[in-house]
């Protein structure tokens, strides 16, 4: 394990404090586990926050059915190892309607299989707070979001009318039916997350590390052919390339980057030199200007 820098210890303490506030202020919290590196850090912090007691939260994964296979097997193994119960929710109506990232475009697909699915899961289980791993450095509209971010009964976010957050005081008071999205990693950056993973030796999905993988280039994005549901165009050919992923999501919408970074230390080195933003390879953020802000108003994480 690497030495943990002072500023990471400070970030860690702040996040743990936020997680404890969630447990203290709400009746039915749920931690959004999306299998990625931010979720991994979030889960790690949550286990620390309540040790030696068990996690006082439910865990929820909104599964679109299009995640990388390696993500799902990693998820199932980890839950078993930690002895945690995970709720897996899929918008079955969307699946039955045949909505896929290939047939319906990323915007419509994301709305149905992620945003609507998430809202459905939160309402169905009556969770009054959902904890997510989003960070303010990810995207411009996220930079303005509160740590306790209020949602109306319809799960909507009103960017212009947010509760001011002073000192360490988080106001989680809500009326029945309303909810809060809580973001304990608000003040972390992508590099902070990686340095923390290094210092704490947190296990990750292997997709983050460079390896030879079968990919095709499509619309300027390097897409991994993860299963046979992806049909190839006439001019496309699968090739083996040394790639890795900076973020993980649905495989048809997540671009790989060329890289030889095969462990956490090498990734940190690569990122320190890198001049491409983290979400540059995510198709859904590029649909139109302000697209993340619009999705968030509608209830997307």
């Amino acid at each position: 394990m690497a030495e943990k820098p002072a500023y990471l210890t400070q970030l860690e303490a702040q996040s743990i404090t936020i997680l404890r506030e969630v447990a203290a202020q709400f009746e039915k919290p749920v931690l959004m586990y999306s299998i990625g590196k931010d979720s991994a850090v979030l889960l790690h912090l949550a286990m620390k926050a309540f040790a030696p007691a068990k996690l006082p939260f439910s865990l929820l994964h909104v599964d679109t059915g299009w995640k990388f296979r390696e993500m799902i097997s990693f998820r199932d193994k980890l839950m078993k190892k930690l002895g945690l119960d995970l709720i897996v929710h899929t918008n079955t109506a969307g699946t039955e309607a045949g909505i896929t990232p290939f047939s319906h475009g990323s915007a419509r697909y994301t709305d149905v299989m992620k945003t609507q699915s998430l809202k459905e899961a939160l309402s169905q289980h009556g969770f009054d707070v959902a904890i997510g791993g989003a960070r303010r450095d990810e995207e411009a509209s996220r930079a303005k979001e509160r740590i306790f971010s209020f949602r109306t009964k319809d799960h909507r976010w009103d960017a212009k009318n947010q509760r001011p957050e002073l000192w360490n005081l988080l106001n989680g008071r809500i009326n029945s039916g309303e909810s809060v999205r809580a973001f304990p990693l608000s003040n972390w950056t992508e590099l902070d997350v990686w340095r923390y993973i290094l210092a704490e030796d947190i296990p990750l999905v292997p997709l983050y590390f460079a390896a030879l993988r079968p990919v095709v280039e499509r619309d300027g994005m390097v897409v991994m052919v993860d299963d046979d549901r992806m049909s190839l165009e006439a001019d496309e050919a699968v090739e083996q390339r040394m790639v890795r992923f900076r973020t993980l999501g649905c495989y048809p919408l997540t671009g790989a980057i060329s890289s030889s970074a095969a462990n956490v230390a090498q990734i940190i080195e690569e990122l320190s030199d890198s001049r491409l933003s983290e979400r540059a390879n995510r198709a859904i953020d590029h649909d139109e200007a302000g697209s993340m802000e619009k999705k968030k108003q509608e209830g997307y994480f």
Binding site: Y7, T17, A140, R163, L166, R275, L276
Partner: protein, 620 residues
């Protein structure tokens, strides 16, 4: 760069930028991000294309576009809300709170300042000190920030003239002296051209101080809380099984060690630290800023909101204190209205009992006021419904800073900084009486309660209450009727009809009713009582079953047609101000206990309906 980097030793620095709308805050931060390589290639592409379309920097890059995130902000070229930005250099990690300079400035600046160690105050070199500069300085000082950078921006537009800079620096030093500020560093710069941001400006060889970035990288924040007695506000009790009972929280001051003798804030119980669990495992010591779980040597009753502190240096306890309050909501503060106060992990009911003065940021003067409007700051006395554990804000921001929450909308409507406690609440006890409410009620053979009649002027509240009281009296009940008009001749003759006075009017009547319930009476209150908040406050003063809200529901048009006292006519003519229903709002009950549709029934029939309801409730 090696893995993990070398930026550790200085840790985290949080700062905020403030200044007027066009002083160049967003440009400055954008430039800092740019110089620290925090702008990605795709971000840069976006910046280049947006600079051409919506940018306001001519042909140059408009760095402010890197910072203004919301769609409306980019369209209007302004910053609406506090935005947080992150960058790091090999020496330090920074969190920037970018706060807007326009209307909602006080709220946003106070929010940004609440977690900052340093404030960067931008001044336009062409304009010198402005009213905004002085306002912002005052807010920053009120929020307890002791390190200030006077960033004299747009030096490129005054030909990098040293005299301009020297004059502004001198003017500010004079102003700051009055404010009692210390640790001021003035830096001449150009956020647009990049002078003295991260590299010394060749255009200003006469300046030999630090660049902005090197100042931020090297400044040592003498952390005032580190040397003080420790405070551990308990967030939650960690009890996985019978063998472990830990108390989790984030240390807000000092250092604690295993074996230390401790006192628990609210009860005063004594014990000692048995173990400290940190995120990295068991430890002998823990210091301010660390998130820990401790166990104690004795079985002590502790719950969320308690504060663990050294036995010989505990925090203060009081249910009344003096504080500065910044009002953060469009609807003004109404002294007397009950709010939720959150301090550390404690939540209590509170009201502002006295607004001593409103702070005037422009000239540092004080003016008298009855309410606080959006973004105003007042110096107030507050009374709580039970004592809280605290330190003064000057000594500890986390133990002396609080927020005020509206109990109906749940919005955060204010923030406050405790100046001092007004008395030691633990010296004032309730005098225990041998004859209690139960005994008095039993003697009268009745169940005491409050019948709270609310409705517009002329709706028939007093008429119905009067008929009802006669009926109750005839049955041998002990009653009292508090009438709005009558009480205003005596107890409340000093109150007018502003929103603030209406709140106080109801508060006093609610207190009197409570005493009468304690005396065993059936109390009828006949008051317009237009606000839900105050009716709710009155309800909370007694047992829930003892409060019966009676809504005398007569439409405004009918009340106005009746106009028994001729008041509506006067109000319409503008001779009476703040008349409910005309130019002052009435908030009807959402779920009255008894709803009287009063327009087409006789007072006798309505009184009968209330009486029948009381029978059902076993009150008569």
């Amino acid at each position: 760069m090696t893995a993990g980097g070398a930026l550790q030793e200085k840790g985290l620095l949080r700062f905020l930028t403030c200044g007027s709308v066009d002083d160049g805050k967003s440009t400055l931060i954008g430039h800092l991000l740019y110089d620290c390589n925090e702008v990605s290639e795709d971000g840069l592409d976006l910046l280049k294309s947006q600079s051409k379309t919506v940018g306001r920097a001519g042909d140059a890059l408009d760095y402010s576009l890197l910072v203004d995130g919301l769609m409306a902000e980019r369209e209007q070229g302004i910053t609406i809300d506090v935005a947080y930005r992150y960058f790091s250099t090999p020496r330090r990690k920074f969190i920037v709170a970018d706060t807007p300079g326009h209307e909602q400035y006080t709220r946003n600046m106070a929010t940004g300042a609440s977690n900052s160690d340093v404030a960067i105050l931008l001044v336009d070199a062409r304009k010198g000190l402005s009213i905004q500069t002085k306002r912002h300085s005052k807010i920053v000082s009120l929020m307890g920030i002791h390190h200030l950078v006077l960033a004299v921006n747009k030096m490129d537009l005054v030909d990098y003239n040293q005299q301009v800079f020297d004059d502004i620096e001198r003017d500010y030093a004079q102003f700051a002296q009055k404010l009692g500020a210390s640790n001021i560093q003035a830096i001449p710069l150009s956020a647009l051209a990049g002078d003295n941001i991260s590299a010394p400006s060749p255009a200003m060889p006469w300046y030999d101080g630090p660049t902005l970035l090197s100042y931020l990288e090297t400044i040592t924040i003498r952390d005032k809380v580190q040397g003080k007695a420790f405070r551990l506000p308990v967030q939650l009790v960690n009890r996985p099984d019978l063998n472990f009972r830990g108390f989790s929280g984030c240390l807000s001051a000092g250092t604690m060690s295993v074996g230390d003798k401790v006192r628990v804030g609210s009860s005063g119980a004594l014990s000692s630290i048995a173990s400290i669990l940190t995120p990295d495992g068991e430890a002998r010591h823990a210091s301010a800023g660390e998130a820990v779980t401790v166990t104690l040597g004795d079985e002590v009753d502790i719950s969320r909101g308690d504060v663990i502190a050294p036995a010989d240096d505990p925090a203060s306890i009081s249910d009344q204190f003096a504080a500065h309050v910044i009002w953060m909501h469009q609807k003004p503060l109404l002294p007397g209205r009950q709010l939720q106060l959150r301090l550390g992990c404690q939540s209590v009911n509170a009201s502002i009992t006295q607004l001593k003065y409103v702070v005037n940021y422009e000239d540092n003067s004080q003016t008298a006021g009855k309410t606080l409007k959006f973004n105003e700051t007042g110096y107030c006395n507050l009374a709580l419904d039970r004592p809280v554990v605290f330190d003064t804000f000057k000594n500890n921001r986390d133990m002396g800073g609080f927020i005020l929450v509206d109990k109906l909308t749940n919005e955060t409507v204010g923030a406050g900084m405790i100046a001092f406690g007004l008395r030691r609440a633990d010296n004032v006890h309730w005098q225990a009486m041998d004859v209690d409410k139960q005994a008095r009620a039993t003697l009268k053979a009745q169940k005491p309660c409050i019948l709270w009649f609310t409705g517009l002027s002329g709706s028939g509240k007093s008429t119905v209450a009067n008929v009802l009281e006669k009926k109750l009296l005839a049955q041998g009940r002990h009653t009292y009727l508090l009438d709005g008009d009558n009480v205003r001749h005596g107890l409340n003759h000093d109150l007018g009809f502003t929103d603030a006075d209406r709140v106080e009017n109801i508060r006093r009547v609610a207190e009197v009713s409570k005493l009468m319930v304690d005396a065993g009476l059936i109390v009828m209150v006949s008051f317009i009582s237009p606000f839900r908040s105050e009716r709710r406050m009155a309800r909370q003063m007694v047992e829930n079953s003892e409060f019966i809200e009676v809504f005398v529901d007569t439409p405004l048009a009918i009340c106005e047609a009746r106009d028994v006292k001729g008041l509506y006519k006067k109000a319409r003519a503008g001779q009476i101000k703040n008349f409910t229903g005309i130019d002052s709002p009435y908030e009807p009950p959402e779920q009255a206990d008894i709803h009287l549709y009063a327009s087409d029934k006789s007072p006798e029939a309505l009184a009968e309906q209330v009486f029948a309801d009381l029978e059902e409730r076993n009150i008569v």
